[in-house]
């Protein structure tokens, strides 16, 4: 920019190094303030709330671990919500990851039309939010819904889905698999990063396509697969919009999922203290699952360069 070529140009008595440090804190300033006000502060407040019986209306009293004791030992709905959430998570993560992997492998080939196929599989994962939840209410309509119509074509009498105690939660899992496109794109990128030389070497060694898949493809994409697994698990535990729009936790408690139960306690019953305790238990569950996956990953995730 300017004609100055001096390598160091102390300004206002600051060395270049100090100047850089000041810049650093100026640049992250907005985030840091936001973190303190909207994340860090609230986290501490939330932890404090979870030890009170505050309802948003009454004055708050310190009750120690009472909320935690109550929800673990006296609250049947807590256990129902937890069980439903695990069921949903297991279903949607397994179907979502395996489905995405299956499609990604098939579409990772130079065949005419694969680009179009990728787009078709990907679009539903972009289409999200309330509009799509409403679409699925219509698709799951027991009498004239498209899902039951398609089932009737292959001779299966469709269940009443969202209106059924037994089928409402599986219906939400089915809906979630419609959005595997995002995972598919990530896995495709992973598959494309596998060096072709490995496949050629495997061919020369006379490897069966099956061996190739389990001994080349899977180890090489295992870091990406692991990433997809962790992200999907975390996301599945936070399902809320679908339940708010499609089922409101019903019928009965069939789709009462964890975050919906938090929502009910906080914003419908105004039990802020109790809801905060619930939120912390959720955080603990998610953290435990992530650590468990991290620990398990050591057995199956292969990192090419252990240095990174």
């Amino acid at each position: 920019m300017s004609a100055t070529t001096a390598p160091t140009r102390p300004r206002k008595g600051f060395s270049l190094r100090q100047r850089e440090e000041i810049d650093f804190y100026l640049f992250i300033g907005l985030w840091l303030i936001g973190f303190i006000l909207f994340t860090g502060g609230p986290i501490l407040a939330s932890l404090a709330f979870s030890f009170t019986n505050w309802t948003g209306l009454t004055t708050q009293e310190w009750v120690g671990l009472e909320n935690y004791r109550q929800l673990l030992f006296d609250d049947k709905l807590f256990w129902i919500a937890t069980r439903n959430t695990f069921f949903y998570s297991l279903g949607s993560v397994i179907l979502g990851t395996l489905g995405a992997l299956f499609v990604a492998i098939l579409l990772n080939q130079k065949l005419p039309g694969t680009t179009l196929m990728r787009v078709l599989y990907y679009i539903p994962s972009i289409a999200s939010g309330v509009a799509v939840s409403i679409l699925w209410i219509w698709l799951f309509n027991p009498q004239v819904g498209l899902v039951n119509y398609l089932l009737s074509l292959v001779g299966i009498p469709g269940p009443p889905w969202l209106a059924s105690q037994q089928w409402a939660l599986p219906a939400l899992i089915i809906k979630s698999t419609w959005a595997i496109g995002a995972n598919m794109i990530i896995l495709l990128a992973g598959l494309q990063a596998v060096p072709t030389s490995l496949y050629e070497a495997a061919k020369i060694d006379g490897a069966h396509p099956w061996d190739e898949f389990f001994n080349v493809t899977i180890p090489m994409i295992s870091p990406v697969l692991f990433y997809v697994l962790v992200i999907s698990t975390i996301a599945s535990f936070q399902i809320l919009t679908d339940v708010l729009v499609m089922t409101q936790g019903g019928p009965g408690t069939a789709t009462l999922v964890y975050v919906y139960y938090i929502y009910q306690n906080a914003f419908q019953y105004l039990k802020m203290g109790y809801a905060s305790a619930l939120a912390w238990i959720l955080f603990a569950i998610i953290l435990a699952l992530t650590l468990l996956q991290l620990w398990g990953s050591k057995k199956w995730v292969y990192y090419e360069d252990p240095g990174t």
Binding site: M1, S2, T5, P7, R9, D23, F24, Y25, F27, I28, L30, W31, G34, F35, L37, T39, G41, P42, A45, S46, F49, L106, L111, G113, L120, Y121, I123, I126, S128, G129, V130, A131, V132, I134, L135, I137, W138, V144, L146, Y149, W178, I185, I186, A189, G190, G206, I234, F237, L240, T241, L244, I262, F267, M272, S276, A279, W280, F283, L287, T290
Partner: protein, 303 residues
């Protein structure tokens, strides 16, 4: 694996001629392979496309044609009027549209500014405490929003921000961990020589960010815009909690109100309005697709 058979000698080359079984012959195999891929992949693609087509079909139908079984795909008559009627005759969707546009645009701009700044600092500037602060960014990425939603609600209510857009519009100006991470990863990939040359010429950090880094980061910035658009446009929980007045409401919540009040008897209008709400998301994706997919791949892999 190999079948031990008598192996005929080729008259031309003198080598052992391959009488390989059909499924090992190259051309046949390629075709069989392609056919297998299509057989597995095409039905799924059709299945994945059907819901949106069905949405369009229902949106264009006469009410009489909706509760017909088996379902009919082609609307007859084609009721284009379902779109304006659904949009205008029940709830003021124009108001909601304007509200959603204002909030979404402001939030994207806020995110772009605050996250580029922080990402640049984390990618390029040396300072004490940097690693610790970056761990905080990563940590908050994993934190479920439910943990902060309740105390934030208490805070914003105390500030008198209930039933206003402030709870939706203020936080995005203070950064979003995921975008900071995404941009930082991208900035790290830009050769450092470029900004070091500029720095030797006496350029300030602001100048380097503005004139060197940002012009090279269009795919990452586009990813932030697209993710930001989809996230804000679809944001349901926050407006649901905070906004009471009809004239301040946003599309996502209004759509659910519409479903609750008129939905069961008016599937054609519900699908028409839902489709209109969904349309901008699909358009943004189509126009930004190239940049967007590259951005996802980058964060997905480098993460």
């Amino acid at each position: 694996m190999d079948q031990v058979t008598s192996q005929p000698i080729s008259p031309i080359t003198g080598r052992i001629a391959r009488t390989t079984p059909w499924h090992q012959r190259r051309r046949t195999r390629r075709i069989a392979h392609a056919a297998l891929v299509y057989v597995l992949v095409v039905p799924g693609a059709v299945l994945f496309t059907i819901p949106l087509l069905w949405m369009l079909s229902t949106a264009l139908k006469d009410p009489k044609q909706i509760f017909v079984f088996p379902p009919q795909w082609i609307p007859n008559p084609v009721m284009w009027s379902n779109f304006p009627r659904g949009w205008n005759d029940f709830l003021p969707f124009n108001t909601f549209l304007i509200n959603s546009l204002i909030i979404t645009t402001s939030n994207i701009i806020g995110n772009l500014i605050s996250c580029s700044l922080a990402a640049f600092a984390f990618a390029r500037l040396r300072a004490r405490g940097k690693n610790f602060l970056f761990m905080l960014v990563l940590g908050t990425m994993l934190l479920p929003q439910e943990v902060t939603v309740i105390p934030q609600y208490v805070l914003f209510t105390r500030l008198g921000w209930n039933d206003s857009w402030l709870p939706l519009m203020v936080p995005p100006w203070f950064g979003w961990p995921f975008f900071i991470f995404l941009l930082r990863q991208f900035f790290m990939g830009i050769p450092r020589e470029l900004d070091e040359a500029a720095r030797l010429d006496g350029a300030s950090s602001w100048r380097i960010l503005w004139n060197v880094i940002l012009p090279l980061s269009k795919p990452a910035l586009a990813t932030v815009v697209i993710f930001g658009f989809i996230g804000n446009w679809n944001n349901f929980l926050y407006p649901l909690i905070y906004i009471r007045s009809m004239d301040k409401q946003v599309l996502a919540v209004a759509l659910n109100m519409f479903r609750g009040a008129y939905g069961n008897a008016n599937y054609q209008y519900m699908m028409a309005v839902s489709l209109l709400v969904l349309l901008p998301v699909l358009l943004v994706f189509f126009f930004g697709q190239r940049l967007f997919v590259r951005g996802i791949a980058l964060t997905g892999i480098k993460g």
